[in-house]
Symmetry: C2
DNA sequence: AGCCTTCAGATTGTATACAATATCCAGCAA
DNA sequence: TTGCTGGATATTGTATACAATCTGAAGGCT
């Protein structure tokens, strides 16, 4: 009823983020403001604001006066991101185990069911639902700073995933998701932390393997 | 020789951040762009960019079309931030224990010595050096995503600290700093994690205690 | 050749103009 | 009084103009 008009800068932000994460820009490709102006049909102002946010998100990098480019994530940094995520997701799961409400439980169950029902060939849908599941856990932790940090880290991971072209789930993924949910619903903090951390580690190992890096 | 001119938006960002963290704005105080324009003598453009960053940092909050205000941190959120920091600082210390270089070790030792030598009554200097010590540990972890996340969380904590008016160090602080450094230098990951987490918990307890007798 | 200088074109940083919303208060009706 | 309506005012969102800086190549010097 009182829908406020969508801001141009938000549209631009979403568009650019999706474009980066879908590989429509090459890693290290330079993004000129004027070029984007012509491409998107809006003025430089909202583009600059979107670029600013994306830079803080870690998806772009730039030096003042010299524009921005798509950030290149090194193998070392990818590894670093997963190390942090292992701990952070573990914390989120542990907190969710202790703090989740009935509504959280229902949402978690619903999201995971959807994920399990998704076609195993629809990579995009799987990624979307996997993301949603992890976000739901972070929400169920009822810890705002954690939620914000997790979202930030997720963006970086998304960039890693794209640049390393790891699209498929690990075979154990489904079972691990179930294990996490079970531990959370049972309010078993330590089990939740353990299973969530293991899940990240499993996936990280897959990514690292593809990168030709031996995991620590 | 190759000093690039300081950007106005950076100056504005630094100025506003310091002002917020020094209490020159009341919590929930509205920041009008035009007002800041007159106050700082620059145009709206760099002010808007600085405000955007501060909003993403969690120091300001705003709804589109309605400007921004200094974010009010509730007691619950303060507690939440410390819970996350406990884990994150623990991880940073553990990683630092395993990854620090000789240069890191020197810098850590130097910073802590400075902190110990600082006058116990100069709250500002103590805060600055305490911050520097914690940041050095995060740097010694050699994990860029972690460093970024820690910085983000630190900003929020700084806001909490200001709004709860906790300025003094806990008596055990000095000993705990030494214990952290010792564990890091000994490359004892678990001890580093434990001591760092304990340090955060000690301080968090102090903050929470003060929140119990004070309405924010 | 190799390196520096210089300058034109392109690009970003900042200021300002204009458009779209939101805020607030006077006035009125129930 | 309380609540609504309308419109003047103020504020934010976007576009554009202008200034400062960077880039890159042509031309001169050693």
């Amino acid at each position: 009823m009182f829908t406020r008009p969508t801001l141009i800068r938000e549209s631009v932000y979403d568009h650019l983020r999706d474009a980066i994460l879908n590989g429509e820009f090459q890693p290290a490709e330079r993004l000129g403001e004027v070029e984007l102006t012509e491409r998107l049909g809006v003025s430089r102002t909202p583009i600059r604001e979107a670029i600013g946010r994306l830079t803080q998100d870690g998806l772009l990098e730039g030096t003042p006066g010299r524009g921005v480019r798509v950030r290149v994530v090194s193998a070392v940094e990818a590894q670093s991101a997963y190390v942090v995520r292992e701990t952070l997701d573990g914390l989120a799961a542990a907190l969710a185990a202790s703090a989740h409400t009935d509504a959280d439980a229902g949402a978690l169950e619903a999201t995971l069911s959807e994920l399990e029902a998704a076609s195993s060939e629809d990579y995009r849908e799987q990624t979307r639902l996997d993301l949603a599941f992890h976000r739901r856990i972070a929400q169920a932790a009822h810890n705002l700073p954690l939620l914000d940090l997790a979202r930030d880290l997720e963006q970086r991971i998304a960039l890693v995933k794209h640049q390393t072209r790891i699209y498929n789930s690990h075979p154990q993924t489904a079972a691990q998701h179930r294990a996490i949910l079970k531990a959370v619903l049972a309010r078993d903090q330590e089990a939740a932390r353990r299973t969530a951390a293991l899940h990240v580690r499993t996936f990280a190992a897959l990514v690292m393997e593809n990168l030709g890096v031996q995991s620590v």
